[in-house]
């Protein structure tokens, strides 16, 4: 020892670090990834690897050559963006399209705002919506689960939500239900849909793991899923012929993936518990409005992006509970 280190307190630091948190999220996504590979096989493996590699590569290239800053492509956040982007694409999405999505996610969604911590919108959802509006047909042709040696040539069809949306225009819910996989199948993920959104149970396992590791708190997922359940439940009680039951709504589409992974993104979600409730309820309400009264069968991604835009406002006005009320001194 030559010299003493002198710095202000605190002199110790918790184990937490950004890479640790990020890799914790990745670990929590592994069950869902396994289920998706089980149902979509080779297609899932291709789009996931392409998406992750593209996101990391684009982050590196943009930071190195355009922004000219020290690249942070290995901090885990680009990896998560890539993984989540793949999760919300159909498993038969062409490689080039996945790459465009990755470029939109990292380039538009993240780097234009100044990189990690500064983006307003969830990057993976920016990529997803970019592809959705650019290639609407490819983005709504969902491969049938179980064809796991097929990729581009997979047989496709409509998601349960799309069948329901089409159906209720002319028929009652009970007439449509036989065309939709049962609740157990929905829970296990045996349905058409975006590659990573299908398996509710695997996503819930991931959520429990993240809660256990204290990576996220329960407020956002519970407020979103709870709101959707309540809102669709009220509609269902009013008219069960026209509106599907709440269980169907929470088990289908991207709700679980959105509520557990997309909406809980640190950067684009509120900082306080009360803010999280406002945000979660807002996402739930807009999701149901789009699903039931809007033009699209699924609305989670739009709902999250819309509420993302409100987060700075929420953070500005919703404050944590201060310890003691102020007293005036002198």
């Amino acid at each position: 020892m030559d010299k003493l280190v002198v710095s202000p307190s605190p002199h110790i630091h918790s184990e937490a670090s950004v890479p640790r948190l990020m890799y914790g999220v990745i670990i929590s996504l592994l069950p869902a990834l396994a289920v998706s590979i089980f149902y979509f096989g080779i297609g899932m493996i291709i789009i996931t690897s392409v998406s992750i590699i593209s996101c990391i590569l684009f982050e590196y290239l943009i930071q190195k050559f355009i922004l000219k800053v020290r690249p942070t492509h290995l901090d885990g956040s680009a990896f998560i963006t890539g993984l989540l982007l793949a999760f919300c694409l159909p498993a038969n999405t062409p490689i080039w399209m996945v790459m465009i999505g990755a470029l939109a996610a990292i380039g538009i969604g993240k780097m234009t705002f100044g990189g990690l911590g500064n983006n307003i919108f969830n990057p993976a959802l920016v990529g997803r919506v970019f592809l959705f509006v650019s290639f609407p047909v490819a983005m709504t042709s969902w491969p049938e689960p179980g064809q796991w040696m097929k990729y581009a040539d997979a047989v496709t069809g409509a998601t349960p939500l799309a069948i329901m949306k089409e159906g209720v225009a002319s028929r009652t819910v009970s007439e449509i239900m036989p065309e939709i996989p049962g609740y157990l199948q929905l829970f296990l993920g045996n349905m058409k849909g975006s590659s990573g959104e299908i398996a509710a149970f695997a996503l819930l396992i991931g959520m429990l793991y993240m809660l256990y590791r204290k990576i996220i708190t329960w407020h956002i997922p519970v407020s979103i899923i709870g709101t959707v359940f309540l809102f669709t439940g009220i509609l269902w009680l009013i008219n069960p012929d026209k509106f599907a039951d709440p269980l169907f709504h929470i088990l289908s589409g991207g709700l679980m993936l959105g509520a557990i992974y997309m909406a809980t993104d640190y950067v684009t979600s509120p900082m306080t518990v009360r803010g999280m409730w406002i945000y979660g309820v807002g996402i739930g309400v807009i999701t149901v409005l789009i699903r039931i009264f809007g033009a699209y069968p699924e609305g989670v991604q739009f709902a999250i992006l819309i509420l993302n835009a409100f987060v700075p406002l929420i953070n500005k006005y919703v404050k944590p509970k201060r310890f003691g009320k102020e007293v005036k001194n002198g």
Binding site: V5, S9, P10, H11, S14, G117, M271, F323, K328
Partner: protein
Amino acid sequence: MRLKTFSQGGVHPRELKLSAGKKIEILPPPETVIIPVSQHLGAPSKVLVEKMADVKTGQLIAKSDGFISTNIHASVSGKVLKIDDFTDTSGYRRKGIQIKVSGDEWEEGIDRSDDLVKEFSFTSEEIRNKILEAGIVGLGGATFPSHVKLMVPKGKSAEYMIINGVECEPYLTADHALMMERGEQLVVGIKIMMKGLGVEKAILGIEANKPDAIQKMKSLTEQEKNIHVRGLKVRYPQGGEKQLIQALLNRRVPGGGLPIDVGVVVFNVGTVYAAYEAVQKNKPLIERVVTVTGKSLREPSNFLVRIGTPVSYLIEKCGGLPADTGKVISGGPMMGKALTSLEVPIVKGSSGILLMQESESHRKEILPCIRCSKCISACPMGLEPYLLMALGKNALFERMEEEKVLDCIECGSCSYVCPSARPLLDYIRFGKAEVNKLIRSRKAI
């Protein structure tokens, strides 16, 4: 029964109480001591002795100089070598009295025996005077003169006295050792302080990681109807007085207010013990229990140390300075101060000396804020550290004031939990200083 704790924020760092269970070892005086005249909050004391004067242990050498100030006594006997500026725990050079030790001759009238003196018949005023005379200040680290706390301002009333035996900082065990070995004296001290304050009820709060101390203090107070001992769930910063009051009584001290605003006065166990010695033994505050600890230290210990003893002397007594030492802290790892020199003296507020290994002495690389909100969840005062740091970086001090930066108790929980290792508390301290300047300039107009 579920253990109580404070209801908002907080963290739980590894406790690492390496010196727990070690008996308090009485250290002989070193060769020279340096006794700073500013060891407490408030005005520095006025020096009463001159260079080359002979002093006795316990002799008054610097006098209280103002309402918020206190007395300082020689902790050893010998000759005054110098009255000069010396580096102290703050890192600044400030006035102190250097004494060359010879023998250990005590001032008359001080009872040095270990005999327990239970009975006392002093009035509140006599107790307050004795505490001022003895130079007692808050020994938990804040070093606020204790006699001032005993004077309840007009219009306020004290209902409870809370004794802080929480010791929530990792590593530190001085209060724990004191409760285990001087429990009987503490009970008498509590009664003295209750009398001095004029309260009927006292609660001693101890964290659950010291079950032996809880047990011991409970059995010692079994016969005392008005003194309650409460175990508390381990959670930092429970030793903060606002947190402790809320944990024990569920009363919230208002922002900008004092515990007396909710009818409470808080004393550390060390302070109460010092009060016992002052009142019952006529002994001024010239020594205190100090934990000397660290992962690489051969013998982490609890010492009874004369005020003014150099830190290097304590480290020698623990087996010498480990080769891998990177940082030496006065106090605990969460709120302690890093020392600039090992020759600084132990002062009234020194609860521990902590030696950090070189590998744990440096801060981590600062990464961008990812808005994980862990700093908000950790803040026991309900502040938004991420926001305060951003405001501080942009010199928006008025906004910092609106965001209640002055409520910050500087516990460090925010910086501790930040996954991006951002120096949140550094910017908050900076902001507090600037906001205080703003407020002063407003008053000046």
